[in-house]
């Protein structure tokens, strides 16, 4: 057992080193895409309206002049950043943009700088997922494997390198979930306060955090029932505090809802339901391994790529089933509720009304995190089962599992 543990630790360290390498390398070599440009615009404090007014009132602009709207401006402060988001994109809560503006004041406004903020923040996902898994499962192996899976997950690596909120958001989802489980276990004022603070930060980072909170609510309801006992009351108080703290932004969103619907109109493009399913399958696969399954893939590889993606899908599906059938209700209901609420809330409108929001992996982070945790649990359980079957002599069986794990995590 100790041999397999030390081998597992070694493997996780290797995966972490690989993950660090993938996150830090070539930060500024990939081009600064549409959404990232808007991050730079927001932290400069300019509004889109101001920029449009200025650049279409002059005859020529050089590329350098356009950079002005993506850099520091002595006349604009943190308030201007909040104002420009509130007026033009109120669907985005401002916490990430304020944090990255502060970062840019220290380290510059270049794409390298704004992206490196995301890279450093993404590293916090490792202790955060470790914490959540330790709250959920007794075996530390699950937590180690989850850290390894996140380290080399193409989904996490991609968003770790983007100047957008999707590196900070998963960290706060994990912290909010872990701190809730800890508070329910300890029942102290301090632990509930930590949960409240984490949840407020999560709300102010992404609107869909409300879905995570809703999933958490279903979990508490499922465990405690409709009784208003001490545990339920102590759960309700920090949630009420978090919601009240988020009300100002909800107010801004309601007042400027026209701007929000204008800024998100791209997501309402009518799309065939079949291509939705294709996208989901590809994205779930990419949470673990990027097979390169895109529309640009050469057709001779397509069958192999499709088969590989289907295998990952089957593993994920089995892992969720395995989690639900092998763990206590306190464990499986938590993972399932957080996962399902977000997934259904994002997927159903696309299926019923049409839209492409669910094809963007970033909105479904809570669901992907749940799948990754389920797979980590499956691998950890199978590994220790193999080890026990080997009668404590883990020599041959464990190296086989470790290799299998490596295949799932690596590349």
């Amino acid at each position: 057992m100790t041999l397999i543990k030390s081998k597992l630790r070694f493997l996780v360290v290797v995966l972490l080193i690989l993950g660090l390498f993938f996150r830090f390398v070539n930060i500024d070599k990939k081009f600064y895409w549409y959404d990232e440009v808007f991050t730079s615009l927001r932290i400069s404090g300019y509004t889109q309206t101001e920029v449009l007014h200025e650049i279409s009132s002059v005859q020529f602009v050089g590329a350098k002049v356009l950079m002005k709207y993506q850099q520091s401006n002595p006349a604009k402060n943190f308030g201007d950043t909040v104002k420009s988001i509130a007026i033009e994109e109120p669907q985005l809560p401002p916490l990430y943009f304020l944090a990255v503006k502060y970062w840019a004041k220290l380290f510059g406004y270049s794409p390298f700088s704004t992206r490196s903020f995301s890279v450093w923040i993404s590293l916090l996902a490792f202790p955060a997922v470790y914490w959540l898994c330790r709250e959920l499962f007794r075996a530390p192996e699950v937590a180690w494997i989850a850290v390894g899976l996140l380290a080399v997950s193409p989904l996490h690596v991609l968003y770790a390198q983007q100047a957008r909120p999707y590196s900070l958001w998963p960290v706060l989802i994990l912290v909010s979930c872990a701190s809730l489980l800890r508070a329910m276990r300890l029942q102290t004022k301090l632990s509930w306060s930590i949960y409240a603070v984490a949840t407020i930060l999560e709300f102010y980072t992404h609107l869909f955090s409300l879905l995570v909170a809703f999933g958490q609510g279903i979990y508490v309801l499922g465990i405690q029932g409709f009784r208003l006992n001490k545990k339920v009351v102590s759960y309700l108080i920090p949630n009420a505090v978090s919601l009240i703290a988020f009300l100002p932004w909800v107010g801004i969103l309601l007042v400027n809802r026209k701007a929000a619907s204008g800024a998100t109109i791209w997501a309402d493009i009518e799309n065939s339901r079949l291509s939705l399913v294709n996208n989901w399958a590809g994205n779930i696969g990419r949470a673990f391994w990027d097979f390169g399954l895109t529309y640009h893939a050469r057709s001779i590889y397509l069958i192999a790529l499709l088969a590989a993606t289907l295998i990952v899908l089957a593993i994920v599906g089995y892992a969720v089933y395995f989690l639900c059938s092998h763990t206590r209700k306190q464990v499986w209901l938590f993972v399932l509720a957080v996962m399902a609420v977000t997934a259904l809330a994002v997927v159903l409108p696309d299926v019923i009304l049409g839209g492409i929001r669910s094809t963007k992996a970033r909105y479904l982070f809570p669901a992907y995190l749940g799948m990754q945790i389920a797979v980590a649990y499956l691998l950890a359980t199978k590994m220790s089962a193999l080890c026990l079957a080997g009668n404590g002599n883990c020599g041959s069986s464990d190296s086989c599992t470790v290799n299998g794990l490596c295949a799932v995590g690596c590349c």
Binding site: Y32, Y34, G62, M67, P111, G282, R286, D290, T294
Partner: protein
């Protein structure tokens, strides 16, 4: 291996991925001018391509859509711009054919496409005298 990362992650990205190829074509000209209707290609794409263009590139940007104009507090009526001389190449950066067609008629020129225009995709063309 690292070279392979970019196209592989393409599936998760969306928007403005045509820009690098377009910018390479523009940067190749000795003294290029890029003409574009912002209401057609959108501000995000203009700002995104500005990271890729060399300092020698000049942009002549108009905002034709009346609603976008009133939002940007531009009160005068928009005009199709006159193309001044002195540029080695005049490029049109677009998303639909609306603006480029008007521009070509006015300049008694035609548009020579440099990338394949697909629906809702960004493309670049060159303005050449008929």
């Amino acid at each position: 291996m690292l070279l392979a990362v970019k196209p592989r992650l393409g599936g998760l990205r969306n928007g403005a991925f045509e820009n690098p190829a377009i910018a390479r074509k523009i940067d190749r000209a000795p003294k290029p001018l890029v003409v574009s209707d912002i209401s057609e290609v959108s501000l995000g794409n203009i700002l995104s391509i500005s990271h890729l263009l060399e300092p020698k590139v000049r942009l002549q940007l108009v905002l034709l859509d009346p609603q976008a104009r009133s939002q940007a507090q531009l009160l005068d009526t928009p005009t199709i711009p006159k193309i001044p001389s002195g540029f080695s190449d005049v490029f049109v950066y677009g998303r639909s054919q609306k603006f480029s067609a008007k521009l070509a008629t006015m300049q008694h020129s035609k548009i020579e496409l440099l990338s394949k225009p697909k629906t809702q995709m960004l493309w670049v063309g060159k303005l050449v005298k008929k």
